[in-house]
């Protein structure tokens, strides 16, 4: 070995920190593999001795070469030679490395760095400075990018929270802590369930729609995404009627939903945030209404299963309830999805309805008598809303809407009340038609409707105004005090018709009291009496009542002029001399289109006590009847005066 002992120092094999990441984890340089360790050792080999030998050899060769062709020097020659020398050195090193790799017995002792030239120093410095500057520039870009994204994020959040605050003014917004990794939203939901409805035992199932998630859409704005056929609405109708209206109405009902979603997707950018929030409000309101309709239907279903007055279930299916309300009328209540895209269901419903055989004939009159479908829907929703939102107030409405005739045990529930109201409405329309028919035919009758503001009672009054006689116009101006008003002749007669559910009550004055007839007193002969009747008999009853009122009036008029007449139910009899009687007889015929009441004049002689037998005789010797026709009250009055003068003239003789 030579005299100089060369020592090389290694770094301690301690792990030094490389970098720290954002989450605080520390990064160490990776452990070098075996190969890398070998390569690093090789790098430490000192090839100075080999390089010097090589350089000497090359110099000698170069001297030989240059002595050979000294004339052909080239300006790049030195550079070429330097490059060749460098190439040789590198090839030596590479060979040595390969040898070392193969043998693994040589270690690198040391390596000294060549001393850098000043321009090299400066260029290194320049490169470092430029690198650093580049690094800072990149940092700057990074910061700018981050700030832009932060600003965007803030803007998005501002929009989102602004919209959420506005929604919160009308809706209940709840927040749930969701695991951060699972969703991009913060777990906001809108709770549409109204727990003030009903008693808690009955209605405890919130619909699946009642909690709506608030999500972010692509622009960061809040979005509410509903499944397509989730909203349902209540649909009401009469079987056999309105069947042609159904597709129209269904397509009208609540197409806003799908239309809104489409416009929202396509014109999102052009709409302002205000419009968007308004649309969301509308959407939430529709869902809210749909939940209410669901609850109404469920309540009706529950009521339908209870035995109660007025409820007669004839068909039940999923989301469909069919009830019979008497007199051959059937109604149905169903829940239909309120989106336009669900035409199949609506077609099914329509097929169902037309497939069911209706019990009544399709009279146009009966169709006209049905109440408006939409108003029935609204009425149903309103009574459920009023009567089912309990707890703070008692239920006054239900008890007050009961008919007076029903006992406490047979109280109809809501559904029963609804069915009874509809049945009453249909029935009272028919009653009104009959009354109008009657009144139209008799010119001196007036019909007056009295709104009862009660869903199961209707009331009308039929007026008959009688003309004032001349005598009494004077006398009534004298008799002005209340005492004498009783004695004054009535100027109008009334017949009151009241319908409770499906019972008709007729109350009128003019028909003679049976007791009064026996007593033969003129005082209580015109009294008020009331009786029930059914629809078929109503025209006849009314006409009889009116005719008897006319007779009563004529009787009073005759009495005031001093002529005594006998009054029977529909007949006013005057006595002439020699026992002859002349009678004014009213004939009632509801089928008569010219008028309901016609008049006959019947003359009899006094010997025929039992005038019925006389009717069998064909010769008109003892009886004479003349048909007077449909007379107005003025004409009747003048006929009466003629008869009176006939009687009076006879007496005077």
């Amino acid at each position: 070995m030579d005299g100089n002992l060369e020592i090389s120092l290694d770094k301690l094999p301690v792990k030094r920190l490389d970098a720290i990441e954002e989450n605080g984890a520390e990064r160490y340089p990776p452990d070098s593999s075996y190969d890398e360790k070998r390569v690093s050792l090789i790098r430490r080999i000192d090839f100075a001795w080999a390089v010097e030998d090589d350089e000497e050899r090359e110099r000698k060769k170069k001297q030989k070469k240059s002595s050979k062709d000294a004339s052909a020097t080239w300006q790049w020659q030195s550079m070429v030679e330097n490059l060749q020398l460098a190439h040789q050195e590198l090839s030596v090193i590479i060979d040595l490395i390969n040898t070392v790799e193969a043998n693994d017995a040589v270690t690198v002792a040391g390596l000294t760095r060549p001393k850098p030239l000043p321009n090299e120093v400066l260029s290194d410095l320049a490169v470092s400075a430029a690198t650093k500057l580049q690094c800072y520039r990149q940092l700057g870009k990074y910061f700018k990018q981050s700030s832009n994204s932060f600003e965007e994020q803030i803007a998005r959040e501002a929009r989102f929270y602004g919209a959420l605050i506005r929604l919160q003014q009308n809706w209940k917004v709840k927040r749930q802590r969701v695991a951060a990794a699972s969703s991009s939203n913060e777990g906001f939901t809108i709770d549409l369930f109204d727990n003030s409805l009903y008693d808690s035992a009955a209605m405890c199932r919130p619909s699946s729609l009642s909690t709506i998630r608030v999500e972010h859409d692509s622009a960061g704005m809040l979005a509410i995404n509903l499944p397509p056929n989730s909203c349902r609405s209540l649909h009401f109708g009469f079987l056999g009627v309105h069947s042609s209206d159904i597709p129209k109405d269904l397509s009208k009902i609540r197409t806003h939903d799908s239309v809104e979603q489409r416009t929202r997707e396509s014109e999102k950018e052009s709409k302002s945030d205000d419009d968007y929030v308004k649309e969301t409000h509308t959407l939430l309101r529709e869902v809210h209404q749909s939940i209410f309709d669901d609850q109404v239907f469920e309540m009706l279903n529950r009521e339908a299963f209870k035995q109660s007055v007025g409820v007669n279930v004839t068909g039940i299916r999923e989301n469909y309830l069919q009830l019979s309300i008497g007199q051959g009328n059937t109604l149905f209540i169903s829940l239909v999805p309120s989106n336009k895209g669900d035409n199949q269901d609506s077609a099914d419903t329509q097929n169902l309805e037309s497939a069911i055989v209706p019990l009544q004939s399709f009279d146009t009159e009966k169709k006209w008598g049905f109440p408006n479908r939409t108003s029935c829907e609204i009425y149903l929703q309103q009574i459920v809303h009023e009567n089912a939102f309990v707890n703070e107030k008692d239920k006054p409405n239900l008890s007050s809407t009961q008919a007076s005739g029903q006992s406490g045990k047979d109280e109809p529930g809501l559904l029963g009340h609804f069915c009874l109201s509809l049945a009453h409405r249909i029935f009272s329309n028919r009653v009104l038609m009959e009354l109008e028919n009657v009144v139209c035919r008799v010119p001196y009758l007036h019909l007056m409707t009295h709104p009862t503001w009660h869903s199961r009672t209707s009331s009308w009054t039929i007026f008959m105004k009688v003309p004032q006689s001349i005598l009494h116009a004077e006398s009534q101006s004298l008799k002005s005090d209340f005492q004498n008003l009783k004695d004054a002749i009535k100027s109008q007669f009334r017949t009151k018709v009241v319908v409770n559910d499906d019972r008709i009550n007729v109350e009128g004055e003019g028909a003679p009291n049976v007791v009064g007839l026996f007593k033969r007193s003129s005082e209580n002969t015109c009294s008020v009496n009331k009786y029930e009747c059914d629809l078929a008999d109503l025209p006849v009853i009314i006409l009889l009542q009116v005719a008897s009122q006319v007779i009563c009036w004529l009787h009073e008029e005759a009495l005031t002029v001093g002529i005594k007449t006998n009054r029977d139910f529909l007949c006013l009899t005057f006595e002439l001399e020699q026992g002859e009687t002349v009678s004014l007889v009213a004939h009632v015929n509801p089928e008569d289109i010219k008028g309901g009441i016609s008049w006959w004049l019947v003359m009899e002689d006094g010997f025929a006590e039992d005038w019925k037998l006389q009717m069998d005789m064909h010769d008109g010797a003892s009886e004479y009847r003349k048909f007077l026709g449909h007379l107005t009250l003025d004409v009747l009055y003048s006929s009466l005066m003629d008869l009176v003068s006939l009687c009076g003239g006879g007496r005077n003789h």
Partner: protein, 148 residues
């Protein structure tokens, strides 16, 4: 830290203590983040000097990147804090929420009453019109002429 629908600042001592604790925690977070940002920025600026061995420069490059990322992270956490505060303001501002709800309730009640009154009025007017029209119709010359 924040509960679901927000605990109100009620009169109970427990709720007040929880709220105070929350506030303290938030302030700490704010301070931490801001200190973080300032510190990292200072270090960034300090490292601007160009050093002799280039390896130190690349070391410093790495360090600068790391500090810049830390700054951005701190800023992000500050922003999150702000949005948490916004959420709390939305959901826990009970006084204003209650006032607002009451106001809306009153508005709606008034509207309901107004609608009821209007409906009653419409009903009365309709009844009056019906009465008038009926009396006109039944005493009209048209009708009496028809029947004669």
């Amino acid at each position: 830290m924040n509960k679901g629908t927000g605990v109100g600042t009620g009169p109970t001592a427990a709720a007040a203590a929880v709220a105070a604790q929350k506030q303290k925690t938030m302030m700490q977070r704010v301070e931490t983040d801001i200190a973080n940002i300032v510190d990292n920025f200072t270090q960034l600026v300090n490292v601007a000097r160009v050093n002799e061995p280039p390896v130190r420069n690349s070391q410093e490059t790495f360090m600068m990147e790391m500090r810049a990322a830390r700054m951005v992270q701190a800023a992000d956490s500050l922003l999150k804090l702000v949005s948490e505060l916004k959420q709390t303001a939305i959901f826990s501002g009970f006084a204003s929420l209650n006032d607002h709800v009451e106001q809306r309730t009153n508005e709606f009640n008034q509207q309901a009453e107004k609608t009821d009154r209007m409906l009653a009025r419409i009903g009365e007017e309709a009844a009056a019109s019906l009465k008038e029209l009926e009396s006109h119709y039944y005493s009209s010359a048209q009708r009496t002429a028809d029947t004669e």
